[in-house]
């Protein structure tokens, strides 16, 4: 494990950068207002992990996993977790409000403009482009976090199965995830019990 540690992991192994509340709030306000197309958590990963290095990959991945299992908008839950990690309860509140309040104002303005002027073809076209960019950000994040998975058969098979069932066969996500969690976590528990050197 240590052999393949990336620079980002080494840097954040013990000491977390101390991030002031204003900077934390600013980062999430920015994310809440410039990200489109549903891939919010990918953009959060990009800013917070890749660019600012406030949280390391493993912390982010585990937080994101929890955020997806807990009800609620995934992006907001991830923001809450990151804010909590960095500044405790106040940080969590700042991250969530930063994500929601400015976006709330923007959406009400858009609602008003929409009622006044209806839809513009350009806007539709540009939004389709931003949705595609969101897919690009999602792929970037998927590749980065995917690389950090343990390289064993059960883990690879689980990831492939989730992708195939939800992405390709389009089965509803909740039953698939609820069905696979006990199996995957059970296997992981067995692996944790088994004494292994190195990790």
């Amino acid at each position: 494990m240590a052999a393949e540690a990336s620079p980002a992991v080494e840097a954040s192994a013990v000491v977390r950068p101390s991030v002031g509340l204003p900077r934390l709030l600013a980062a999430f306000v920015r994310l809440g207002t410039v990200t489109f197309g549903g891939g919010l958590q990918s953009w959060i990963h990009r800013e917070i992990v890749d660019r600012l290095g406030w949280v390391d990959e493993d912390t982010f991945l585990s937080g994101m996993t929890v955020a997806r299992v807990v009800p609620g908008a995934n992006g907001v839950n991830v923001a809450l977790y990151v804010g909590f990690k960095l500044r405790g309860a106040v940080g969590a509140a700042a991250a969530v409000l930063g994500m929601i309040v400015p976006a709330f104002c923007v959406i009400l303005c858009l609602g008003y403009l929409y009622r006044r002027f209806g839809h513009l073809a350009e806007v539709h076209f540009v939004l389709a482009g931003l949705a595609a960019a969101g897919v690009g950000a999602t792929l970037t994040m998927g590749i980065k976090v995917g690389r950090r998975l343990p390289r064993d058969f059960a883990t690879s098979l689980t990831a492939a199965a989730v992708f195939a069932l939800v992405g390709v066969l389009r089965l509803p996500m909740i039953p698939v995830v609820l069905g696979l969690i006990p199996i995957s976590v059970g296997l992981a528990l067995l692996q944790e019990r088994r004494p292994r050197h190195g990790s």
């Binding site: 997806r68 939004l127 950000a137 995830v177």
Partner: protein, 176 residues
């Protein structure tokens, strides 16, 4: 006034707790409640608000704000937004704090290890789902690939990425 606001809270709070897997999971039920049960909107109004919420930045669950606004103006929007985000955020806070405290327990390590491949599978499944929903053509695929490539090789910011993609598409729209 009070009753309308209360009705909004009562519709959106349970949806907040039920939105396992993200906000989009509750869209069908939200439509049922707003259109059929309460008659706040027509089906086509709901479809318009849905498109708007996809077009706006930030979390797509903010469609709740638009519905609330339609029902009871600004305070309706506030009540609906609180209803859709507050319960799930409190729950996430409780779970996140528990998760944080258990940093070194074997149970948490097993949960982490077991949940990680599921999360990764969902990330890629999500990418495919979005592309399919948008019946994406070559241009969308090329955009996604370009963004992925540039982000993987440079430290380009989110602003610059979003700005560049928007400019290119605007340009393409006019020269088409």
């Amino acid at each position: 006034m009070g009753r309308s606001l209360l009705a909004l809270l009562l519709v959106f709070s349970p949806l907040s707790i039920l939105s396992i897997g993200g906000g989009q999971a509750t869209i069908p039920e939200m439509q049922h409640q707003a259109v059929v049960v309460h008659g706040w909107l027509s089906n086509s109004q709901f479809a318009d608000l849905f498109a708007l919420s996809r077009a706006a930045p930030g979390p797509s669950s903010l469609i709740a704000a638009l519905i609330g606004w339609q029902v009871f103006g600004f305070w309706g929007a506030v009540a609906a937004t609180l209803g859709i985000f507050l319960p799930s955020s409190l729950l996430m806070y409780a779970v996140g704090a528990w998760w944080h405290r258990r940093a070194d327990s074997p149970i948490r390590r097993a949960l982490e290890r077991g949940l990680a491949p599921i999360a990764v599978g969902l990330v890629f499944a999500g990418a495919v789902t979005v592309l399919r929903a948008a019946d994406a053509g070559a241009l969308a695929l090329a955009t996604a690939a370009a963004v992925c490539l540039v982000q993987s090789t440079t430290r380009i910011s989110t602003h610059a990425t979003v700005g560049a993609v928007a400019s290119v598409y605007l340009l393409l729209f006019y020269i088409r």
